[in-house]
Symmetry: C2
Subunit: 292 residues, 2 copies
């Protein structure tokens, strides 16, 4: 055995990789694993990373990172809110990290914010380890219900102005949130002028998954569905799609500039020009939307 002076002290390097397919993905170095739990629904990990700050993984997939979660959470809230003529009551399905209700809480003109999250463990972990999103639950307007969003919307009629589907990917606990029956119930739960928004995957790696929610939304909303995009570097391809169904005016052509200016919030991604620009889709994506 060599003496101590011969030895090199090498710190182990821990890297996380998320595979986008069997043969490609993102990889990043992990400073430490802060939390790990097998809940009733999924495996939850919260890790601290060098490049992205704290990151929540569900079943080994990146849900959000401290560095870029602002893009997702601003874009899933601001676009429907400012496209709607007068939103008052909002329902969030999923969104257990709190980032979506945190953003909704900044829109002080809202009356109520209801969230139905199936996995309480996600909420508990986010409050403890990612307070930058978990702080969303500190707002008194936020009413958190632990339960199944699919069951919850079944009995609702004419109850909400906007419904936000802030779900995981379309397998495992979130699978039903991409189905046709669910969107049909969502439509009934919406009032006149109502808008539904769902995170809807990406067209580069997962065009079929993307189109599953888009097509089911189209059936329920008589083709009154638009997609919009945002740059999210820690999601597959960096090009993230949101599907939006509307009962009133076309969302891409509606923008309540008066409310936007009066509110005078400081956003980090969203602005007036982004509101219109995010609906401009590249040709290859329009082709996917016509053929799948």
């Amino acid at each position: 055995m060599p003496s101590f002076s011969w030895r090199f002290i090498i710190n182990p390097e821990f890297w996380f990789s998320e595979k986008y397919t069997d043969s490609c993905g993102i990889t990043f170095k992990v400073r430490s694993v802060l939390y790990t739990k097998e809940s009733d629904f999924q495996r939850i990990d919260i890790i601290d990373t060098y490049d992205y700050g704290r990151v929540m993984l569900l079943d080994g997939l990146v849900m959000y990172t401290e560095k870029d979660e602002f893009v997702y959470h601003e874009m899933i809230t601001c676009v429907p809110l400012f496209a709607h003529p007068n939103p008052k009551d909002i329902l969030v399905v999923g969104g257990g990290d709190g980032g979506t209700v945190r953003e909704l809480g900044r829109h002080t003109y809202l009356n109520s914010i209801t969230e139905v999250e199936i996995d309480e463990s996600v909420v508990v972990a986010a409050k403890e380890y990612t307070p930058f999103t978990g702080c969303g639950y500190d707002n008194e307007k936020v009413n958190l219900i632990i339960g199944d969003g699919i069951e919850f919307v079944k009995n609702k009629n004419n109850a909400y102005d906007i419904i936000i589907i802030d779900s995981t990917d379309p397998f495992g606990p979130a699978e039903g949130l991409f189905s046709g029956e669910f969107y049909s119930n969502v439509k009934n739960a919406l009032r006149e002028d109502g808008i539904v928004v769902a995170q809807a995957e990406n067209p580069y790696y997962d065009p079929k998954w993307m189109m599953r929610s888009v097509n089911n939304m189209r059936k329920a909303f008589h083709n009154n569905v638009e997609c919009y995009l945002a740059y999210i570097p820690t999601y597959p391809s960096g090009m993230w799609n949101f599907a939006l169904g509307y009962k009133g005016k076309k969302a891409s052509e509606s923008f309540d500039i008066k409310r936007y200016k009066n509110l005078n919030l400081h956003f980090r991604y969203y602005n007036k020009n982004i509101h219109r620009a995010c609906f401009a889709l590249p040709e290859f994506m329009k082709e996917i939307m016509q053929t799948i």
Copy 2:
């Protein structure tokens, strides 16, 4: 030694990783390495991959992939071409893979397409191993000059309508293409209404590099500079920035719809709505552009 029946036959897996920082990056599986050369300027590799088809690496960094090169090459050509009122003579600095001149060649209203590429080995490799870009040189209008673009533009006055800086990253052979002196010479080489476009990195990982070309372009073009964005999944962050300097009208407000309609080309990314939308910048990027 165990007998043959005991042995597992395991094919080796080769993975390529490009690090965006010391602690994060993209990783993908390689089917085979088709070509490797140390040229006078850089190391060139062409690899075949499972997800992205053929990929050219220069000094170990992804230059383009068969799957998504269309985004970069359409966006670096169509935006200046349709923003300009009447482009006739185009200069490309760099672009040795041929993708940019391939796209320019489709715009049949152009008189001349000149490319100055410093590294002939890149052109030779692209023609042989990535004919989907190398085919750009088959067009008789394309005049390829092997030489130093920095020297080339020094002696040019009032010679081009559009100059496209299709370079590698701002270190190594391309470093001078991000300098103030270079952009000053580019401005002199442009005619009235002239436009320069340069690939200009990304705001998530490399805001300082991004701002180096933007700021030097601003000095030469008296702040008549705009940035525009495209989704390119195999470039760092997937959010790619182009810097555009103009001598005539503001590019984001100029679009020659008549020429666009007459030409009637099938693009895979670019379209009328993208032309305007790509200039809409997220708030955090506008802040970077005001502070760095």
